[in-house]
Amino acid sequence: MAVFSGRDLGCERGERLVFEDVSFDIPGGGVTELRGANGSGKSTLLRMMAGLLAPTDGTILWNNIPVSEDADAHRARINYIGHLDGVKGMLTVTENLRFWGELTRGQQTDKQIRDRADLALATFGIAKLADLPARSLSAGQRRRTALARLIMRPALIWLLDEPATALDTSALAALDHAMAAHLGAGGIVVMATHEAIRQPTPKVDLDEFARRAAAKHRAAA
């Protein structure tokens, strides 16, 4: 069974130590919440999992093999939704989604990409916005378009950075539904969020890791 894990991860930005000795193990089909105060490094850890940022210490592993050994395979395995939506204002919603489908087209035909885009639009309830230029969308609608990107390219690991921002109840329901389907198929979801997720989930609490590291420093001093 696939497992996404991290061993003693540490991150230093400039001269600031963001976090150290953070470890986690997330089995297939598992969802994990990143918890911690502002500035504890939730987004940084998520970006590190996505491969945007190399860990200063420690390693990230997939099935106990460091992901750095095959970065392309890791990139194909993840779908990252950050703070920024990555939506081009001058393109329509459909064009935005189709672009992401075409970018990693593989053997898919145009028709398959179009169908997948329609499915993504339907999943997040923005089918009626399909031909609107993205610049005229509201923040919530733009966030739904960003989330629709999860459907455009199947990926084992979903890395969601506060996905629920600007989402209304129906969008939240759509997100839960999509996540449930993804988890059911053995996928993994790592989410940095503040809202309480309905069902209790395993947590990676960065404040807890910070307390432990501080204690270790005090003990060593």
Binding site: E12, R13, G14, E15, L17, T56, D57
Partner: protein
């Protein structure tokens, strides 16, 4: 600060090298001056102005030497992620720029008596002028970012890209210069160098190199100290 790629070892090295660099620099520069100004004959063609060569040619060599050093340190910094290599490259930039500036000014001071104008589009002077802009670009990019680490990495990439381009620029400027060769331009270094002129030249070159290493040690130590100060402030904050 534990990720600082053993700064303590590097600081110890800098402190060990510094006094040696200082003594060599002072000794050779003094000897170079003595030979250059007093104990060497004027040139039969250029007369006393040939003495300017003793400060011009070493400066031009150092301009190239520092840029190569900067590009090398940047490559090490990017490949092995040694923050100390970034510090070395950043400490080298102003020294290299100073040498390039000196090469340009002394070149112009040397050109005036020979060609009657302060600036002449001689191939090497032009290439050194472009090199001077590469230095300015490096320093400007280095502190154009709020995040220091971003500036260091961006400047390191620029230094390497610049280093790849220097020979291409040199080639095209030489080609351009020969094409537009005005009849009156005499090649800058004139006749082949008489042995008695070689000693001051070599002395000055060694003196400039030792001076570079000496000032480099000073600037690297200062830079590492300031990083430690910032880290301490962050930790106590």
């Amino acid at each position: 600060m534990h990720r600082f790629a053993n700064p303590t070892r590097f600081v110890a090295l800098a402190r060990a090298v510094q006094p040696w660099a200082m003594t060599i620099a002072l000794a050779t520069l003094f000897a170079g001056l003595w030979f250059g100004l007093l104990a060497s004959p004027p040139d039969y063609q250029q007369g006393e102005t040939v003495r300017i060569m003793y400060v011009h040619v070493p400066a031009a060599w150092m301009a190239m030497f520092c840029y190569t050093g900067m590009a090398g340190a940047s490559a090490v910094a990017l490949v092995w992620k040694h923050a100390v290599a970034h510090v070395t490259a950043r400490a080298t930039a102003p020294i290299g720029a100073a040498f390039t500036f000196l090469a340009l000014v002394t070149g112009s001071l040397w050109g005036k008596p020979m060609w009657g104008t302060w600036w002449v589009w001689d191939a090497r002077l032009t290439s050194v002028l472009i090199l001077f802009f590469l230095y300015l670009g490096y320093m400007a990019l280095e502190n154009a970012f709020d995040d220091r680490a971003r500036g260091q990495r961006a400047a390191a990439i620029l230094a390497i890209v610049g280093a790849v381009n220097v020979p291409i620029i040199k080639f095209s400027v030489d080609w351009w210069n020969t094409l537009h060769q005005p009849a009156s331009v005499v090649r800058l270094d004139g006749p082949s160098i008489h042995p008695s002129m070689l000693t001051p030249l070599i002395l000055m070159a060694v003196g400039y190199t030792a001076f570079y290493i000496w000032v480099l040690c000073l600037r690297v130590r200062a830079d590492i100290n300031m990083s430690k100060v910032r880290a301490l402030k962050l930790r106590n904050a």
